[in-house]
Symmetry: C2
DNA sequence: ATTATTTTTTAGACAAATCTAAAAAAAGGT
DNA sequence: ACCTTTTTTTAGATTTGTCTAAAAAATAAT
């Protein structure tokens, strides 16, 4: 299992390749990974050869049982390392992803099990994403969360996850005092552009629809 | 800087390639890395191209200033990770090397600085080897240590380092209750084969010369 | 000083992972 | 149905890192 193969499996999983419904197109994978479709075709063949994906020419790619198990194991490592970086080394949530992209490829079952133990077997990573268990179970839904943009005016809820984990988005949230665990109150909605008026703690802000479609709340 | 390049630099350093006295032969590097001399020649050219080593055909290889700095940085990471694994994750000293071989290639200055801080800026790794500082200083000698085999009968000292860090050797030491910090008393020496009679704690053992040439004591 | 041996380098091949350009297949439009 | 556009694959090239076999240089032995 090379690093590149692992990255492909992870990407295919994130694009929904674990469902047997619609296979993932080579183009979609190429775009996500910032590579060329021809490179994806090559890798699709190699992964198929190894029994990690189902691939038939012009039909796209889906993960095999083994492929899903492997992808979840990498995602588990990625998210556990993210928790470690935040909780034990005081990294901020916008700094962890880049380093975790490297750490997720370290091959040592004992290492990740010990990290898991050190952290007290966390269920969610710093972005609110669920951490798969050692035997590959994942709570896909996580909390019964809903996008901020889909909730009616007047709703009060707790921020439980972000959909977009990019550095600029996370820094935007920091700047506005929004983080996981914060209580958010939807005060109003602008019909013209879908922007929302919020109360976060004791501050009030207006946020664009783009922001609202990338924040998950657990309403109460 | 690729992983392979980093491994070559580290190996050259460990073979004494930071001294300008005698360059390291391609054969010596090949043997140490369990690869072929022709592969080493190829890499020597590439590293020379990048200004990391001095290399002239048939003359062997030595590290440049930049090469030394780079090698020490990798060794620093390797040894800090070893300390982390032992102190924070309860790894034994014979388990850490293999995992550290992977972790030493993680590229994040912040990560290793934070690990260093978490550990309280340790000076020695679990095998008694000195940890280079952030700016590339290393206490080559470490303690004023001497090989057990070079000390006279009657000497009493503290075990401060091992020369060989291989799994079988470390497990041998564990089995005989020998670890870093333990007091060792040289009770006698067999002239025939150089084996030593020792007291370690309250136990007495006879150890072969091969063992004695791989254990460092600080005599007192 | 030649010859023989050992060490080191070169030449050529291969696998992994990528790219560009061209060909083939699929999907869309009239 | 036929033509056009988009998607996907193939063909051929490139880089890194490795190997084997052969050539060249350096060392050692007679
Ligand atoms: Mn991440
Ligand atoms: Mn995450
Ligand atoms: Mn080590
Ligand atoms: Mn060590």
């Amino acid at each position: 299992m090379t690093r590149s193969e692992e990255n492909y499996l992870k990407t295919i999983f994130h694009l929904g390749g674990s469902k047997t419904t619609t296979p993932i197109t080579t183009n979609a994978i190429a775009e996500q990974m910032e590579t060329k479709p021809s490179s994806v075709t090559d890798m699709a063949k190699r992964l198929s050869e190894k029994g990690l994906v189902n691939y038939k020419k012009y039909q796209g790619v889906s993960l095999s049982e083994l492929g899903i198990k492997t992808a979840l194991n990498i995602i588990r490592k990625h998210r556990l390392w993210e928790v470690f970086l935040v909780r034990k080394l005081d990294f901020t949530w916008d700094e962890v992803h880049e380093v975790a992209e490297q750490l997720e490829h370290i091959k040592s079952e004992k290492l990740i099990d010990k990290i898991d133990e050190l952290l007290g077997f966390p269920k969610y990573d710093p972005h609110g994403d669920p951490i798969p268990t050692k035997n590959g179970d994942i709570d896909e839904q996580g909390y019964d969360k809903q996008l901020l943009s889909e909730l009616p005016v007047g709703t009060k809820g707790t921020c439980v996850a972000v959909k977009d984990s990019s550095v600029p988005f996370l820094q935007y949230l920091d700047k506005h005092g929004i983080s996981i665990g914060k209580t958010i109150h939807i005060l109003g909605k602008e019909v013209f552009d879908g922007s929302l008026h919020l109360r976060v703690g004791n501050r009030e802000h207006t946020v664009s629809q783009q922001i609202a479609t990338n924040l998950y709340l657990q309403s109460k």
